[in-house]
Amino acid sequence: MSAAAGGPVAVHQFLPALNPHDATGTHTLKLREVLRQAGWRSEIFAEAIHDDLAAEALKHWMYPEHAADGDVAVYQFTTSSAVAPYLAEHGLPLILDFHNFTSPELFAGWEPGNVTRAAQARQDLALLAPEAKLGLARSAFSERALRRAGCRRTAVVPVLADYGRVTATPDPRVAAELAARRAEGGADILFVGRVVPSKAQHELVKALWTYRRLYDPNARLHLVGGTSSYEYNRSLLGFVDDLGLAGAVRITGEVSDAALAAYFAEANVFLSLSVHEGFGVPLVEAMTAGVPIVARDAGAVGQTVGHAALLLEAGDPAYVAAALHRVCTDGVVRRTLVAEGHRRAAELRSDVVGRQFVDAIAEVVGRP
């Protein structure tokens, strides 16, 4: 790499896994387009590649066949992976694109495998961060983690995402089902995210139970997202049943973009009680879709939403219920949050963020 010689010819991306309908996968594909449009050659190398994206990437161990002098590597750091020691061993000039990862402590007692992976991710970060020429974090919260791990030069650049999918044409079948339920009365509360302990869906259920008891006996909660924690998912289902909320809580699993658009279109409020968020793409989707937000101010949530949410210090169901009631019944509050959400979402549009990526990378490695 040599900025003095006119900058690198290629800025390649490496990542643990390239998957469709996944925030990191979408970010990686969009960043490749941004890098190519800026004038760099750019390919994607991954440890695992989903069949649907087989044409978009190569296995990371195939990189030497494509290597050239002056290559720069951007590593999409999301979890532990064989790619981390591979990059450390090959000594490519490295930019860490840090999406943060869930602390192992948050999986403790639930999934031993996830604890091990998260602990390994921490070691991978300690291995790579001191060697990185630049660390790009999704939020100031994640930037601090990069600094603590030894990264000397850092910048905050949000994620590249396809927020427009939530305002696309909704899946008519899902939309009709939701509309039928809405006709029975009651608010629709939405959360989007993997069903894992760190997202604290059980606290959303507690909040719904309290909200129904105090304010709105017909309210419903929609939990959209797949799971990577079987134990937590099982406990959540049992909890919902015991509270007699089986008819009021819908756990959808993974859904299509059109179905997701239907859920956002019908939601009265987006509620997040996550205890750890490195950025929070669904929060931006809610702002894009014009859904007011009530959220626990954990991790990077406050930085992501600005003034577009009622932020709670903790997940105390009484506070959550009162905040939900306020958003659902006070037009001025709702309109203020929605207007602020649109303003904040505009700052996070992909074209804006893409320019920030190019500037941050060029400042370190030179323009193409």
């Binding site: 403790a108 007692g109 639930w110 809405r182 629709d188 059980h202 259920v205 507690k206 139970w209 309290t210 105090l214 134990e231 099982r234 406990s235 959540l236 049992g238 909890f239 015991d242 509270l243 279109a265 019908e266 939601a267 009265n268 879709a289 014009g290 859904v291 003034h307 949410a309 009622l310 932020l311 105390d316 169901p317 009484a318 506070y319 009162a322 905040a323 009631h325 306020r326 659902c328 006070d330 037009g331 001025v332 509050v333 709702r334 309109r335 203020t336 949050l337 929605v338 207007a339 602020e340 649109h342």
Partner: protein, 340 residues
């Protein structure tokens, strides 16, 4: 889009959204306060919700026991080869039932072996559980009270006879001096006044907490744990008073081993202890009765320390009830010492 979300940006949009949201949050806090005051939200409600969720959580989350975990293992040990055949469609149930009949011999053979394997593992774990319980019972029956500090009132305070000789021994300490157990810091203050950098630790945290600290560095920590956290050869002197009396033999040996690696070459170890006469006296502190060990004679201390590479000497107190050991560490580094 829902009715609620279809509304446009209002004319009433506040000039300062941040301040407005803060105001709303304050109103929400007041709403919650009123709700709680009215009895709508009894405190036990949330606790009951938490307990209900915990009841569905894995044992690791609940902090459950090995026995409880084994009960769950036992419950899951039998693997049923008869798969359910319910179906939303009438034909589906018939097809599933047919498949089950055809495959039952094969599935049954597999599940039988899996159940046997799981049972064998479970039996082994039950044996481990039984042995652990028996060990815990034995340890509990032999457990002695923890007397981390056994302090004789006449041996404490700047007027005690052994303070001046101890200060003299520490005058040329090649580094910082640690006093354990430091109590309210009376000796640390005296050592500091003599121009030597000193600090103190004491496992009796409440005493440290209420001490008048001034500029003193006092910490409420266990003595062995603190010493293990100190860097090798990081101390110029160590004063042990009220610390060794309550220790069992094994604990004392461990303490001396870690002291040997934390003292710098040429560093000074000072031990103040009491003889058996004081130990047996009617006014001995209650910790003396509870302690698992018994006091060593001064000559025994000297012998132990000399075997460990110190040059040691003993000095009896004026009434013979207590004594002072001063020992200077030989000029070996801790690593050389370990190699020996």
């Amino acid at each position: 889009m829902s009715e609620n979300n279809a509304e446009s940006t209002p004319d009433t949009h506040p000039d300062d959204p941040g301040a407005y949201v803060q105001q709303v949050m304050a109103e929400i806090a007041e709403e919650v306060r009123l709700r709680r005051a009215s009895g709508d939200l009894p405190p036990k409600l949330e606790r009951e919700l938490d307990e209900l969720f915990l009841a569905h959580s894995p044992i690791g989350v609940r902090g459950g026991s090995l026995s409880e975990a084994l009960r769950m293992v036992d419950a899951a040990t039998f693997i049923d080869p008869v798969v359910p055949v319910d179906s939303e469609r009438a034909a589906g149930a018939v097809v599933k039932k047919g498949m089950r009949s055809m495959l039952l011999w094969y599935v049954g053979w597999l599940t039988h072996q899996m159940s046997q394997s799981a049972s064998a593992v479970s039996r082994a774990l039950h044996i481990v559980d039984d042995r652990l319980k028996e060990l815990e019972r034995q340890v509990d029956s032999q457990r002695v009270s923890d007397s981390a500090v056994v302090e004789f009132p006449t041996s404490v305070g700047t007027g005690a006879w052994w303070v001046e000789p101890a200060l003299a021994a520490l005058a040329k300490a090649p580094g910082r001096v640690l006093h354990a157990a430091c109590g309210d810091g009376w000796l640390v203050r005296r050592i500091a006044d003599s121009g030597v950098d000193a600090y103190g630790i004491d496992p009796r945290t409440p005493i440290v907490d209420i001490a008048e600290l001034d500029a003193l560095d006092l910490r409420g920590e266990s003595v062995p744990e603190h010493l293990r956290a100190v860097a090798a050869a990081g101390l110029g002197g160590i004063v042990l008073s009220g610390t060794v009396e309550g220790m069992a033999g094994g604990e004392r040996n461990e303490l001396l081993a870690v002291v040997g690696t934390r003292l710098a070459p040429g560093g000074t170890l000072v031990i103040h202890s009491v003889g058996r006469q004081a130990w047996e006296a009617a006014d001995a502190p209650y910790g003396a009765d509870l302690a698992p060990g018994r006091p060593l004679r001064p000559d025994t201390w000297c012998r132990l320390l000399e075997e460990d590479g110190y040059v040691a000497s003993a000095q009896d107190g004026p009434d013979g009830s207590d004594y002072l050991i001063t020992a200077v560490r030989a000029g070996l580094t801790p690593y050389e010492h370990d190699a020996r």
